[in-house]
């Protein structure tokens, strides 16, 4: 136990003190602060003084050739409202003239309204996300509907009221609000996955480095291999946890620091983590991390050089990516309680991600959570034991990594040898 703590301390300090750890943590924290504050800054400048710089002469021009409606009045009014800061100019120019002037930049864009329901939109560059076409369609449709209603005998006000009417929809959810949790779950899932993969790989690299530099030759004579491994895995895990806690608390603090109104609701939704979700994420990070890093550490102990490492750990890496994919597809499809997901909640490799997504996006019975956590705890214990046995063989083996069958054979032999020594020490 003393050895585990000593190794743990050394690994933790060694890990936290590395430049890459400090830099990556700092980058994450800065990014999160930016994500929280930047939209607020951007939006406030835009709405506050966006159009002040234009004098009348410089105002960009929107040319409209109206051949569909008798009066220009309503069309001009609607367009002026939608395009504040633009000069709405009525003309009689035809398509080619308008196109030419849009081309030279004299007009920002032009509309050629031939019939109430048919309009040509002339623009220099059709931007993908400008939203201009949608907005114009809305304006023109509204105009048509109003005029038609007026023709049918309604007053202008009455017809406008009909056109502008909108149903107010209140949603009441009896269970978990999937829509509201979707993005925050997605983000926590990503963090969970990245953290498990990143720190698991960190463990495997550190194991290979110790073998490669032959530091293991010294260590193995000072402490039991299992103590070395547990110390290393727990130490690196704590380093990872430190990083996660720093990042998540930065996120919580900065979201609370910005005034809620300065953020558009979409972004507020992204950052809408509830405390118990964060706690669940931490729990499943710890479990998932141990499940994977024990395996990765054990496999890494078989490699003598870092070049061998990738080949050795790729099966486990594929497993973790597959687990991630299954869960992401399930939450994207909205059906987080499908049979597949339920099964995945009890398979050690997929359980941390699957059960987390299900808890976050639906109502899961307490016994299901407990069972999944139980399965994971048992797997941590078993994988820990298996990893310790493999590690013991692996760390002093150099040369080509052995085949799986050879590993099993050696494990059996070691088991037999251990039994023998126990017997002989008893007798």
């Amino acid at each position: 136990m003393k050895h585990i703590l000593q190794v743990l301390r050394f690994e933790y300090i060694g890990c936290v003190k590395t430049k890459s750890f400090i830099i990556s943590t700092a980058i994450f924290m800065v990014l999160i602060v930016l994500m929280a504050f930047l939209p607020g800054l951007l939006f406030s400048t835009q709405s506050g003084n966006g159009d002040v710089h234009f004098t009348d002469k410089e105002k960009p021009v929107i040319a409209v050739c109206n051949k569909a409606h008798d009066s220009h009045e309503m069309l001009t009014a609607e367009l002026t409202m939608a395009y504040a800061g633009y000069d709405i100019r009525m003309t009689d120019e035809n398509l080619s003239e308008l196109t030419a002037k849009v081309g030279t930049g004299e007009y920002r864009f032009a509309l050629l309204l031939k019939e109430p329901l048919s309009c040509t939109y002339i623009t220099k560059n059709n931007e993908v996300f400008s939203g201009a076409t949608v907005q114009l369609k809305e304006i023109l449709t509204k105009l048509y509907q109003t005029t038609q209603l007026q023709k049918a005998g309604l007053s202008l006000d009455a017809s406008l009221e009909v056109v502008n009417a909108e149903v107010k929809l209140d949603t009441v959810t009896s269970g978990t609000d999937q829509a509201q949790n979707y993005w925050s779950t997605y983000i926590l899932m990503m963090l969970l996955y990245i953290a498990i993969v990143m720190y698991g790989q960190m463990v495997s690299q550190s194991v290979v480095a110790e073998k490669n530099t032959r530091a293991m030759e010294m260590l193995i004579t000072c402490a039991k291999p299992s103590h070395l491994m547990f110390g290393k895995v727990i130490g690196s895990g704590l380093a990872g946890l430190t990083q996660m806690v720093l990042i998540v608390s930065t996120a919580l603090v900065s979201v609370n620091a910005v005034s809620k109104d300065s953020l558009p609701p979409e972004i507020m939704g992204l950052l809408n983590f509830s405390v118990d979700m964060v706690l669940y994420a931490l729990l499943f990070f710890v479990l998932g991390y141990f499940i994977y890093s024990f395996l990765l550490g054990a496999l890494a102990s078989m490699a003598s050089r870092s070049e061998d490492l990738n080949t050795l750990i790729s099966p486990v890496m594929i497993l973790v990516v597959a687990a991630f994919m299954v869960v992401v597809f399930s939450i994207t499809s909205g059906d987080v309680n499908s049979t597949l997901m339920v099964v995945c909640s009890y398979i050690p490799f997929t359980a941390p991600l699957a059960i987390f997504a299900r808890i976050a996006m639906s109502d899961v019975a307490v016994w299901e959570i407990l069972l999944s956590v139980g399965v994971q705890l048992v797997s941590v214990y078993l994988f820990g034991k298996l990893a310790a046995a493999i590690y013991r063989i692996g760390v002093l083996m150099y040369g080509n990594p052995p085949k799986p069958t050879e590993i099993i054979k050696m494990l059996q032999e070691q088991h037999k040898a251990n039994k023998l020594t126990k017997q002989s020490s008893r007798s």
Binding site: E210, E217, M218, L219, I220
Partner: protein, 306 residues
């Protein structure tokens, strides 16, 4: 105090690596563990260190099973191993703590040993910034920091310049004088002869020769005589005539000037030869029985088999 390895057997898979290996190393003297590559030296050492369990046999300390929790063992592996990217003081303290020191003791021992190795200025440097010889010294400090009762050194001299080799020799002699049991493995026979009172030669997993070096050397026939003199040209014909039938060969020594190598049929006629040279009044600088060197003995015992 005495470290005893008794009847150890070990196999890896089908391969038998050690067969009935027994050794005894006493404190205040060094035991040279010799053998060709793959003879089983490292496996033997690892069994002593408790890294491997033997299939049979035991490791004893003063007659009782070696308790590695209480007996401190310092081991310097042939494949040097420390963390290249970590500060020297950090890793020395870490290793000493794993061996049972508390932090304060470890820090003190770290300073003391760096001082002893003339390496104090490098305390806060990363290991990889040091030259190979200096890294070697750090490795030795790491081995000896816990003040071990058993010291196992595997090729400690490789890569050291003569000055550092002197320093290392002094340190090892101190350890021996201080009562540590020293196991010394090397292929550099001159060091073995310098430090070790006894040797054990492993070959193919078996001990094929062990004992005190002087005894081993004395067990060889003492019939080879080297005579150094300025008058070797006159001595050679005299010896042939004087010794007659009792002589095997007389040849000039290829490795030294003015020296004759005289091989006698029996070591008993050595006295007659000396008497003859003396009576004749030759100016003899040196008259010496040629013992086989450690190198000769090693090659003789290990050449034949793998």
């Amino acid at each position: 105090m005495e470290l005893q390895i008794r009847d150890i057997e070990k196999h890896f898979g089908e391969k038998e690596v050690l067969k009935q290996v027994s050794l005894t190393a006493a404190s205040g003297a060094a035991l040279g563990l010799l053998g060709r590559n793959g003879a089983g030296k490292t496996t033997t050492i690892r069994i002593v260190m408790g890294v491997f369990f033997p299939d049979k046999g035991e490791v004893l300390w003063n007659g009782k099973p070696l308790d590695r929790k209480h007996i401190r063992i310092g081991y310097m592996p042939e494949e040097r191993g420390l963390y290249p990217k970590k500060r020297i003081s950090d890793q020395l303290i870490y290793l000493a703590m794993l061996r049972g020191m508390n932090h304060a003791e470890a820090a003190k021992a770290c300073d003391r040993w760096l001082e002893r190795m003339n390496m104090s200025e490098y305390k806060l440097k990363k290991l990889e910034t040091l030259s190979k010889g200096n890294q070697q010294k750090i490795q030795l400090a790491a081995t000896l920091m816990c003040d071990p009762q058993i010291v196992i050194l595997d090729e400690p001299f490789s890569g050291l310049d003569p000055v550092n080799a002197m320093l290392l020799k002094d340190v090892i002699k101190e350890m021996i004088a201080g009562g540590a049991v020293v196991l010394f493995s090397s292929h550099q026979m001159n060091y073995i002869e310098e430090f070790c009172d006894s040797i054990a030669i492993l070959n193919g997993g078996k001990i094929i020769l062990d004992g005190r070096i002087t005894d081993i050397k004395h067990s060889y026939p003492r019939n080879k005589i080297a005579v150094t003199s300025s008058q070797v040209e006159q001595i050679a014909p005299f010896v042939i005539q004087h010794m007659g039938e009792e002589i095997v060969s007389v040849e000039p020594d290829t490795t030294a000037d003015h020296t004759l190598m005289i091989r006698l049929k029996s070591a008993d006629s050595k006295q007659k030869l000396l008497q003859g040279l003396s009576d004749k009044g030759f100016d003899v600088d040196m008259f010496r029985v040629c013992e086989p060197s450690m190198n000769d003995i090693f090659v003789e015992y290990t050449e034949a088999s793998v």
